[in-house]
């Protein structure tokens, strides 16, 4: 199982089930992104239409070939607006 966390405008579009079992052919962040888009086209288009930052286990990741491990927490961060 991995935990998916969607923030900001992506949160409202994502399904409620945050803990998911990934199929065997989803082993990297790039594959995860494609899998989300297939499973949930609205969320997939929202993610494609904006700049999304990936955070794995609370660290920013820029290499999409990074393998996903069991119990990883993977967060999807759209552009930020604090202050």
């Amino acid at each position: 199982m991995v935990k998916l966390v969607f923030l900001g405008k992506l949160r409202g579009l994502a399904r409620e089930d945050a803990e998911v079992a990934l199929p065997a052919d989803v082993g990297t962040l790039a594959e995860l992104k494609d899998w989300i888009a297939r499973r949930d086209p609205d969320l997939g288009s929202a993610m494609a239409a904006t700049q999304v930052q990936y955070v794995v286990n609370q660290c920013v990741v820029r290499d999409f070939s990074l393998p996903i491990a069991q119990n990883d927490e993977i967060a999807f961060l759209p552009p930020m607006s604090g202050g």
Partner: protein, 153 residues
């Protein structure tokens, strides 16, 4: 360095007073308070909601504050930021910098605010006359962020 997120309204003056207590060696305190407006460019805003990523948001704001404190030689910086639902008139953010002299404290607060607008893992949603909409940094915010990058004491 003190960074706190809160889902409850806070009193900026009380926060500031606690921050400066016992710091008589410091000659300057500069602070900025961001308030929730009741309109966005003339369109009524009833409520602001700020989403955050627990743990990561605090860590990232602390990293930005530490970077600014080191750059502008400020011995201490305080950031209090609201999350959750916020009503017009309430304080959203307080940034305060303590320094030996005023110039560094002014710069530190301005630059840290510019960073928070674009780099703090927070997401604002306004609900008002036009329904609900998520806010993204404006071109002006990004320009200020770029300018802040080059600013040194």
């Amino acid at each position: 360095m003190q960074v706190r997120l809160t889902s409850q309204p806070f009193d900026p003056q009380r926060e500031e007073a606690a921050f400066v207590a016992g710091r008589a060696q410091m000659g300057a305190l500069v602070s900025f308070v961001g308030l929730c407006r009741d309109n966005n460019e003339g369109v009524a805003v009833r409520q602001l909601h700020i989403d955050h990523y627990a743990g990561f948001t605090e860590k990232e704001i602390a990293r930005l504050a530490q970077d600014v404190a080191a750059r502008f030689a400020c011995p201490d910086i305080l950031v209090v930021h609201r999350v959750g639902d916020i009503a017009p008139g309430e304080a959203i953010v307080l940034v305060a910098a303590l320094s030996h002299h005023r110039a560094n404290a002014f710069d530190a607060v301005r630059v840290l605010m510019d960073y928070l607008k674009t780099d703090a893992p927070l997401w604002k949603k306004e609900t008002g006359a036009k329904g609900a909409q998520w806010i993204e940094p404006r071109a002006e915010d990004r320009a200020r962020r770029a300018e802040a990058e080059g600013k040194s004491p």
